[in-house]
């Protein structure tokens, strides 16, 4: 299992478009990927789960991945978050 803290830099937080980019990315990996925010843990492949987390701008999230490509999944997600999900 790999865990890492990532920061959401997007102006409106993890709203529809960054969440879409996030789900699209992690769905490419075989590992189970979870996000934890304010004590709530959701499946990172579930867009509905991510949206109801309502992650605010500047928030820190814990990414947790379990599976054959766990390290790759976490690294890629971290990079995408740093690039503001290729938006803005």
């Amino acid at each position: 299992m790999v865990r890492k803290e990532i920061k959401i830099l997007n102006k409106y937080g993890l709203h529809t478009r960054p969440a879409t980019a996030l789900v699209t990315l992690v769905s490419k990996f075989k590992s189970d990927v979870f996000l934890e925010y304010n004590g709530v843990k959701v499946n990172a492949k579930s867009i509905l789960g991510l949206l109801v987390l309502a992650v605010e701008p500047g928030a820190n999230l814990i990414v947790e991945a379990n599976g054959v490509d766990e390290q790759e999944a976490v690294d890629n997600l971290d990079r995408l978050a740093q690039q503001k999900f290729n938006l803005e």
Binding site: G13, T16, A19, T24, S46, I47, L48, V52, A54, E56
Partner: protein
């Protein structure tokens, strides 16, 4: 007694109780199921998810190619949400645990997500419930299709009061129980307006005091006089009774006599019908009418919030042709302006969007050949069952007609190879409704079998006004009559018929002007059919021909209006 004034969208007068229509409020069939039904319920759910997924993929591509990237991404999010594994698991578990039918379980799970979003602190996330509503509506539509009909639960005949009414809202409410419609937003030429007229439902819009109306138990909606009467006494009700009865008879009785086929002085005249729904055509008696001059195929999409596949289209077109018993039916291929695309998709998220540049009609279809080909194949296959004509909307350039004809030829050879029947000689017409094509009429006439004038869009192009505003006054504009005169002359020169299928032909005064300058072929909606037929049978072409010069040389819409009105009241009443 209190009265409120509004704008007439669809005529008629009714009295009745109020139904407060709230968008997105769905009635879900709730019942418990047996364990033996789990598999079939899940199968139903999977199918609904798959269909929604296919539709949203198509919608996303359309929006991506024709609207903008931002909206395409929002639809991409809907596409992910509709097949969200967590959500699907939750639905399955709820169904198994509480033995609720799958529609009910789905509705509850989605409702929970919605509630969680509303609890968040950011307005930004709260607003995303619009996405969830769109998704929910789409999936539930597929879950309910042909099984349980889901619509706002109108129990008794009522006047529907709403902020706004989208075409698909109107499609999914029970027309038999819809006495009338009152909305805050909506224009004469809005698509909901066209539908209301097709269903003969009185409709008044531009009412700001919606909330006040909702508090009354019974009201009178007098669309003819653009008035809503609140606080009605028995005396007032009694004074309206005969008009209300007359309207009810008119509404139930689409047309009782054969449509007129000549004027008072025996000049042959064609009056065809505009239609958009298979059910609307099925309600017609083919022995009384002459043909369908405009079948608006995009209404098939509005019913479904997506573009139906070739087979669904084929069945619909075939049903229309069979019902019409060899009377001509003019199928207009999809006319998706941006506004109509939005109307078709009926997405909450796209509702209050900016005004888009003009595009649509055949140009749009040629940019999306897969949509055009599926539709032309469906029409050609259906042509084996009746008298089929094809019409191209919003033609801007001759080139567009040439390319469409090439596609038609390719499809014909495909169908021959596949051994599928079709009619060999199908007439092809062009709608004349843009200013650019007015310059190419002679050239265009070489490639088509008829011209059909779309007066609504023509008025937009010539006079430039918004689709949501009242267009009726444009019908008397000298520019309109001069343009139509030009089209008639080009048609005569080429020896092809020219008809008017726009709303202008349903205007009693404008019809006199059209007849005066040489129109002998119109197509009108069913709500106007009886009155227009009556009017045509009373027109003396010889007499009305005398108006030609004063119409074509008029300096203002008001001058023309005055001439036509005077003629109408002197000669026809």
């Amino acid at each position: 007694m209190k009265t409120i004034k509004g704008i007439k969208i669809s005529s008629g007068v009714v009295s009745g109780p109020i139904f407060n229509f709230e968008r997105g409020k769905l009635t879900v069939p709730k019942h418990f199921i047996r364990e033996a039904d789990f598999d079939s319920e899940l199968e139903r759910f999977n199918t609904a998810i798959r269909k929604s997924k296919d539709e949203l993929t198509q919608v996303r591509d359309l929006v991506h190619n024709h609207l903008d990237e931002d909206h395409a991404k929002i639809i991409e999010a809907q596409l992910l949400a509709v097949q969200d594994e967590e959500m699907i698991t939750a639905v399955r578990e709820l169904m198994v645990r509480e033995k609720k039918n799958v529609t009910w379980a789905y509705f509850e799970v989605m409702d929970d997500y919605e509630k969680l979003l509303l609890k968040t602190f950011s307005q930004f996330f709260k607003e995303r419930t619009a996405d969830l509503k769109d998704i929910k509506k789409r999936v539930i539509y597929h879950l309910s299709h042909e099984k349980d009909i889901i619509q706002p639960e109108i129990i008794k005949p009522s006047i529907i009061v709403a902020e706004k009414m989208s075409p698909s809202d109107l499609m999914h409410i029970d027309h038999k129980l819809t006495l009338g419609i009152i909305t805050r937003y909506g224009g004469v030429d809005s698509h909901a307006g066209i539908l209301a007229r097709a269903f003969r439902v009185p409709y008044i819009s531009n009412i700001n005091r919606i909330q006040e109306i909702v508090s009354y138990s019974e009201i009178i909606l007098d669309a003819d006089n653009e008035t809503i009467l609140l606080d009605i006494t028995d005396d007032i009700k009694a004074s309206y009774e005969s008009r209300i009865q007359d309207f009810r008879r008119h509404r139930d009785n689409i047309i009782s006599d054969k449509v007129a086929n000549s004027t008072k002085d025996g000049v042959p005249y064609h009056i065809y019908l505009n239609a958009g729904f298979v059910d609307e055509v099925k309600a017609m008696d083919p022995a009384l009418i002459q043909g369908i001059g405009l079948f608006r195929t995009e209404f098939l999409c509005i019913e479904r919030n997506s573009i139906p596949d070739e087979n669904v289209q084929f069945q619909a077109y075939k049903a229309v042709l069979e019902k019409m018993n060899d009377l001509p039916v003019v199928f207009r291929v999809y006319d998706f302006g941006r506004d109509k695309l939005l109307a078709m998709l009926d997405l909450e998220i796209l509702q209050e969007d900016h005004v888009f540049d003009e595009w649509g009609g055949i140009g749009f279809l040629l940019d999306n050949p897969e949509i055009l080909k599926a539709q032309l194949r469906a029409i050609l296959r259906a042509s084996a069952y009746g008298n089929t004509r094809i019409m191209l909307p919003l033609v801007m350039f001759v080139e567009e007609v040439v390319r469409t004809k090439e596609i038609l030829e390719t499809i014909k050879s495909e169908l021959k190879r596949e051994g599928l029947a079709f009619a060999e000689n199908i007439e092809l017409g062009a709608m004349i409704e843009t200013s650019s094509v007015l310059e190419e009429l002679d050239e265009l006439a070489k490639y088509v079998d008829f011209f059909s004038i779309g007066t609504n869009d023509l008025a937009l192009y010539l006079l430039g006004s918004g689709r949501m505003t009242d267009l009726t006054k444009n019908y008397y504009h000298p520019k309109m009559f001069r343009a139509i005169d030009k089209i008639i002359k080009a048609g005569n020169k080429a020896g092809i018929p020219v008809d008017v299928c726009g709303e202008m032909a349903s205007d009693p005064y404008a019809l006199i002007g059209l007849t005066a300058i040489g129109i002998r072929f119109i197509s009108v909606s069913s709500s106007a059919l009886a009155a227009i037929s009556d009017e045509v049978s009373k027109i003396d072409v010889q007499q009305c021909g005398k108006l030609v010069n004063s119409i074509l040389n008029a300096d203002s819409a008001f001058t023309i209006y005055s001439h036509l009105k005077k003629f109408y009241h002197e000669q026809l009443e």
